[in-house]
Amino acid sequence: MATNDYTAILNELKGEITNMVVSSASAYADAAKHDAQALLSDMDANLQTWTQQLATGEISAQDLAFLVKTQKDLMKMQALKQAGLSAIAVDKLKNDVINVITSTIIGKI
């Protein structure tokens, strides 16, 4: 394979991989933002519900304190899941890069 061929292949790969990185990062950022907004919205609704339930005597002050701490634990889990999904997004990107490299190079060697 001539040097010129490698340059062409590298340029082709550079373009494809750059596009993949940009679209992967954008898709992940959108999903993470959506999850964070849903989380805040849920928390707000829950706090309103529990405060009303406390006022009407449906739950005790201890119940309310427990539920708030549960919400905090759940938020920790949601953050952990996002961290995991972020790492998976990087793994998927690596996998896609491998696919592009193999299909581009193997096809031309």
């Binding site: 394979m1 739950i59 634990d73 952990l80 999904l85 790492a87």
Partner: protein, 151 residues
Amino acid sequence: MKGNFMVANLKKGLILSLLILLVGCFSVSTFDQYVYTQTTSLKVDALNVMDRATTDYASQSDVVADLQSKLQKIYEYERNRPKNEISLQLWNTLLASDGNLLGGFLQRWKTETKLHATFISEEKKLVGRAFDEIAGLESGKIKASQISLSK
């Protein structure tokens, strides 16, 4: 001529090495159907057991023990999967008896013997979501069939 041939082979070798290195560098375990199925199944079991917390803990201790045994089995399975630290941290948070999700709920039920229906109903929503987080992470993992060099 011979030099060009050697350079081409060297480049092919480098590319292959790079590919193998990339696959070996995956940071999270691949998708496991058994874990996903068990997690969704245990969610149903756990929420059903929580419903019983309006009655005396002692009368339900066998049901709780059965649930805890199932949870311990999936936990052990998860603990022994490589590159599975985040899933394990999720299970730890869900099951911690000094926490406030399922483990903490069961501990509180044991201590206080009975819990109020409204509290149980609200706590169930959060515990259900917690199981969803574990299942959601698992379903987001790469399937073994999607890994490039395994095709």
